[in-house]
């Protein structure tokens, strides 16, 4: 996708400003928060594989794993969607510090989804790595 944009831009737009706009789009598309959008499901499933967690807890684990740019609301939205899709279980547990917390955990569907998504990701990442290595060479 990225290469097509880069390749098309000089042909379609002769003016410098048009090129600049397209370059900005490419740079933005490579922004970590944009890249995250596609793989947030996978990231959330991954942190829930080790242990069940409530929203803020999942958020913290993602940050600790190095995904600093993840948006809070996106994580909560992703949890809702995965739950609605039947990939997660949900239960409420009281907490000492404050209100009850809603925990999410992987069920069979979630585990299957995680395995499948991991495969897809690995394939994609390998392909990209090879591509980038070839380009550099």
């Amino acid at each position: 996708m990225c290469s097509s944009v880069v390749g098309r831009a000089p042909r379609d737009r002769s003016e410098g400003s048009g090129l600049a706009v397209h370059l900005m789009e490419v740079v933005e598309a490579m922004d970590p928060s944009q890249l995250l959008k596609g793989v947030l499901d996978l990231a959330v499933l991954a942190v829930l594989r080790d242990a069940d967690g409530y929203g803020y807890d999942v958020l913290r684990r993602l940050r600790a794993a190095g995904l600093e740019d993840v948006a809070d609301a996106s994580v909560y939205g992703t949890l809702r969607r995965l739950f609605a899709a039947g990939a997660l279980t949900s239960y409420v547990q009281p907490s000492e510090e404050g209100p009850h917390r809603k925990y999410y955990g992987l069920n069979k569907t979630g585990l299957d989804l995680l395995a499948q998504s991991t495969k897809t990701w690995n394939h994609f990442a390998d392909t990209m790595s090879v591509l980038l290595l070839e380009e550099a060479a």
Binding site: A71, R81, E97, G98, P99, H100, K102
Partner: protein, 407 residues
Amino acid sequence: MNSTLTGPVATYLAQVRAELSDLPPGELADVLDDVSGHLTEVAAEFEDEPTAASLQERLGTPQQYADELRTAAGYPPRKATPKEKTGGETALRWGIAAAIVGPFFVVIGLANGTEETLFFGVIGLIALFGAAYLGVRALRGSNPEVVLETRRGQQAAESIRGMLDQVPPNVRHELVTIGQPVWWVARGVVGGGAIFAMSGASAVTVVGALAGAAVSVWIGRKTQQDRRWLWYVVPLNVIATIIVPIWLAFSFVGGTSSGVFGSGDDYSASSASYRESGLWLDGNQVDNIYPFDEQGRQVKVRLYDQSGNPINLPVQDCRINTPESNTDSVSNTFPQRTITDGYGSSENCKDSDKAPFVPPPAPATTPATPSATPTPPGASVTPGKTPTPTPPTSSKPGVTLTITPTR
């Protein structure tokens, strides 16, 4: 769950809720449960209670937050939901109308004379209850909190929260626990008292005030349970916040020693049934005064009250027939000449200051307790002598004169 949130955090949650109000109720409740938990955790990141600005810096605007949530959760894009929106907005609009128009007419009524009080008071109350009823009906059975989800409701709630945040928490607590019951009783006493004071009897006013206090406390409790009562209670509170200070000012300026209820009578006296000008004796209007000296001879006098104010009555002699005459002219010289013949005619008019009755013989031996009838003969007032402007003898015991200065 949401009840644990306060201040700007609660506002933020309400704004997110408003942005997501098109979701199905069950899903909305679930996701807001999550958001509420999230905001609790985020609030704990701050040392003090976060401000609206610091929350936005951390999470983005409520709109951005809701959009991120919506996209990630795969909810459909926001649809315009005019029905639900107008419900809250219409209800809010009617509520505001009730709180402005009703009190406006009632205050106009109170600022005017007796009949206007009743007329505008009734109009104001009809407008108030009518608008309040339409407001409650506009809710169509949904939670009254929907008005807080409208843009105007949000702004109002935010500014009120901002003001409340200025008040230290312990003072806030005191205001609610002590100030609220005191206010309930005060508005009930004034409201009930004012209505029954129109009857004029202070005993009735006291009973009315006590009954008003009881009703007011009951209404207050009821409103805590069912917030739809707010549509009626807030406008009535507006009226009360206008009347209570006036009432207090009146009892202060009136300076009577009998406290609120005594001065309440003064208040009603000046605003209601006794407002007519003129001279009154035991409930009957006095049009003229025929003074007689102690020998039973009619005399001409000028009358003054205890403060040296002339006791004026409108002139009623032939001058009122002339077109150029000022019909508002008054005189404190008695007896006044009254028209005996030729009413309405400036040429053939005749007037007289002769008493239209034969003075009854005065009691001979009771000079210490004169009655309201002419004083007995035997004292030394020279006939025809004009009295000096000193307080007249009309304030002796046995005589009840109600005098209101002519306006």
